[in-house]
């Protein structure tokens, strides 16, 4: 067991940190956010130059063959910077679907495009009735000759408005909540019958509501793996989102401590008040506990036993979610009014952390599921 970064990993971390320092000052970020895409194509190109978009793919497919630890390192930096680009939808989630569910031909065709920053992906799984249940799928896929016809509607597709291809869960058989009968399709966004309506999410990022109206796709649009594939990919996404949350919490904590040191009230730095000191200490405890879980997630992302992986990822989601909420709220509370404003970065951490908590299941969702699955220490 070894928690130190390798030389290469440290290099990756440093070079990305440098890039973000240059490109992601708060004012720059505001500009990206106000743009039509809601993020920066230039910065995306810079990520491509750094190799970030090729990271998780096998070298044979044109990637770098990096693993979950590297994803963690990168996502953490994105969290610190509150980066807006669709790294997780395209590279982490889209990448995992391609790695685990696509044919060699598909990978050969798509991976280089992703690596070069030319192909964006998004994952459409939420439906109005589904809440957080991946198996709750009313969207249908019906055989149509050699191909398929997709019908249905997906909501809150993160970065779905700018994606070139949409990865969609659809039901080929069974009842709405059956675990069997779900397949995953890769559908070009410009296919006839696909209608997208983009909107801002509560953290200022972008998502889309997408309807599929008699959408005809070819046979090879169906990836291999069905629901099990989607669950595996989501577990990898949870690991990456967890790492992003750590970066966000750490920046939030650093900002708060800096503020406590410099801001004066009643003639002294507010950080000299013991009640705030203890709260800051508690933030630190929360951050370290959450960081441990992000590491656990990186470790479990490649776990082959799906039940064990799922259980540990639920624990990750719960612990990071709880602690992120505390850190986000206390960042605002200890700053006071200033962090309630759009013009100050503090409140944006709270917003991003709230969104992360609510992606792929909130704390209570996983708490309920995990406690029904017997808890964390079942076999230990």
């Amino acid at each position: 067991m070894d928690f130190d970064l390798s030389e290469d990993q440290r290099l990756l971390q440093d070079s990305l940190a440098k890039l973000l320092k240059d490109k992601y000052a708060f004012e720059q970020r505001k500009g990206y956010m106000a743009s039509e895409t809601g993020w920066s194509r230039d910065v995306w190109a810079a990520y491509a130059d750094l190799g970030l978009l090729a990271m998780p793919f096998a070298e044979d497919d044109g990637g770098l063959g990096y693993g979950a630890v590297e994803t963690m390192i990168v996502a953490e930096q994105f969290g610190r910077a509150l980066a807006l680009e669709p790294f997780i939808p395209t590279v982490v989630i889209g990448g995992a679907f391609l790695r685990h569910g696509a044919t060699a031909e598909q990978r050969a065709a798509l991976v280089p495009q992703i690596a070069e920053g030319k192909l964006l992906l998004a994952f459409a799984h939420t439906e109005t009735q589904s809440r957080f249940d991946l198996n709750d799928v009313a969207t249908t896929a019906k055989k149509d000759g050699a191909g398929w016809v997709i019908e249905g509607r997906k909501g809150v597709v993160v970065h779905g408005d700018t994606a070139d291809q949409i990865i969609v869960t659809a039901r080929v058989s069974g009842g709405r909540r059956d675990r069997d009968g779900i397949e995953v399709f890769l559908i070009p966004a410009d296919t006839q019958g696909v209608t997208r309506r983009g909107f801002k999410t509560s953290d200022g990022q972008r998502a889309a509501d997408i309807t599929f109206d008699n959408v005809k796709v070819s046979a090879d649009a169906k990836l291999n793996g069905g629901l099990a594939l989607a669950e595996r990919v989501v577990d990898e996404a949870i690991a990456a989102l967890g790492a992003e949350a750590i970066g966000c919490m750490e920046a939030s904590k650093d900002l708060t401590i800096e503020y406590l040191k410099t801001r004066k009230q009643f003639g002294r730095p507010i950080g000299s008040f013991q009640s705030l000191q203890h709260r800051a200490a508690e933030m630190m405890v929360c951050l370290e506990q959450a960081r441990s879980m992000a590491m656990l997630a990186a470790m479990m992302a490649s776990e082959e036993d799906p039940a064990e992986r799922r259980r540990q990822m639920r624990a990750v989601k719960i612990e990071i979610g709880r602690n992120a909420r505390f850190v986000g709220q206390q960042t605002v509370q200890m700053h006071g009014g200033i962090a309630m404003t759009m013009e100050y970065v503090g409140g944006h951490y709270l917003k991003r952390l709230t969104v992360i908590e609510n992606m792929f299941g909130d704390v209570d969702h996983h708490l309920a599921a995990l406690s029904e699955e017997g808890g964390v220490f079942v076999a230990a």
Binding site: S130, V156, R263, G347, T354, V355, M359, D364
Partner: protein, 401 residues
């Protein structure tokens, strides 16, 4: 000790409820039920109706438009408005400036201003906070220099709620910078917002709302007759104002309304296999909040019933800090329950221009408001005496430290 409402009090509640039902415009009620604040026009319209009925400022002396009501009656009116929901009379006018002027103002000031304050003919905003001051209010820097029959005011106020709607502002200014203590040498002024030199700049909060503002004061000429109370003794007015009407801060009626609405919503809110309301964990969390709210309702009544004794002793009841601390926590907790109920569709940002759209919504209205409200309500534990300040006050009051 009689712990139930009397028949008279119950009858009074029915009367209030019936009158509100009859007089509150449907659009106002709907907008508020959705969890939004009333528009300026709605606020003015409603307060004028209350004023005409004699209910805008029942806690004021009768000669200035008040009612000889018990604290319980005032509570009932306030709670009924919150539960409907209807707008409450503008706090800056009815609960802050009005009582200060009644206690410290001249007869001329009272005659001229109090009716306009009560009826909302003049919308007042509060110029207390300054950049860099935060909870340390008395460290304010805005200067007022007497020149003939005017004060020349220079400085900056911030967190000025609804300054964009205001006709007038009441503000604390430093008139004697050489005073020994920072609480001394402060004066309490009122000023017309149209006075040259006053500029309002919006502050957008993290939920995207425009509620608060910066107010810049640049050589603003304020007639000396706009001084309230004694020059350099403005801190007395401020302290009086801050200790006044803490019971309102619990906002139990409003929280009860939000809970009731949440129960209706959660019964329909998709929760995968079953509606959110059928999840035992969600229900437990909701019930935990309800139980605390019930206790807070009782605590509010206790503080109210004790109000006369408190007023005669002119010192705040330490239990009033309980109301602010727990009231805030519960409002925040309720906002978190809405976020939970909204689930993934809570990610859809509320769009202030949503009314203009003809397309189908990408999420239900309440879902899009859930996170915005959660973000916005973080302010509750910061303003009006932060939770930390409330605990300092309590510690002082009963630890004697």
């Amino acid at each position: 000790m009689e712990l139930r409402f009397t028949d008279e009090e119950r009858a009074f509640r029915q009367e209030v409820r019936a009158w509100i039902d009859e007089n509150l415009p449907a659009e106002t009620r709907e907008r508020m039920a959705s969890g939004r604040t009333p528009t300026k026009a709605m606020q003015i319209d409603w307060q004028k109706r209350l004023y005409a009925k004699g209910w805008a400022v029942p806690h004021w002396p009768v000669e200035w438009g008040g009612q000889k009501w018990s604290a319980i009656q005032r509570f009932i009116l306030s709670e009924e408005m919150q539960s409907t929901p209807a707008p409450s009379p503008l706090g800056f006018n009815a609960n802050m400036l009005g009582p200060v002027m009644i206690a410290f103002g001249t007869e001329e000031q009272k005659k001229h201003f109090l009716p306009k304050i009560a009826s909302l003919d003049l919308w007042f905003c509060q110029g207390f906070s300054e950049p860099g001051a935060g909870s340390d209010l008395a460290s304010l820097k805005t200067r007022a220099v007497r020149e003939g029959d005017h004060y020349i005011v220079n400085g900056q106020k911030t967190w000025t709620t609804l300054a964009q709607h205001a006709d007038w502002i009441f503000l604390l200014v430093r008139t004697d910078p050489g005073a020994a203590k920072q609480q001394e040498g402060i004066s309490f002024l009122i000023a017309d917002m149209k006075t040259p030199g006053i500029t309002v700049r919006p502050i957008i909060t993290i939920d995207g709302a425009h509620e608060v503002n910066e107010v810049f004061l640049d050589d603003v000429k304020v007639p000396v007759e706009n001084l309230i109370g004694t020059e350099n003794r403005g801190w007395d007015c401020a302290k009086f104002l801050l200790s006044n009407e803490r019971t309102g801060q619990a906002r139990v009626g409003a929280s009860k309304e939000r809970i009731r609405r949440l129960k209706l919503i959660a019964k329909e809110a998709p929760g995968g296999a079953r509606p959110v309301m059928e999840d035992p964990r969600f229900r437990s969390r909701l019930t935990e909040v309800e139980v605390q709210l019930k206790a807070l309702e009782m605590t509010t009544l206790r503080v109210l019933a004790d109000e006369n004794r408190q007023l005669s002793q002119r010192k705040p009841n330490p239990a009033s800090s309980v109301l602010k601390i727990r009231g805030t926590e519960l409002q925040q907790a309720i906002s978190e329950l809405y976020v939970m109920a909204a689930g993934p569709y809570g990610l859809v940002a509320s769009d202030p221009e949503a009314d203009r759209w003809n397309e189908p919504e990408v999420a239900q209205d309440w879902q899009t408001l859930a996170q915005a409200t959660y973000f916005n309500w973080r302010k509750q534990s910061i303003y009006g005496g932060s939770t930390e300040i409330q605990k300092n006050i309590m510690a002082k009051a009963f630890l004697g430290l």
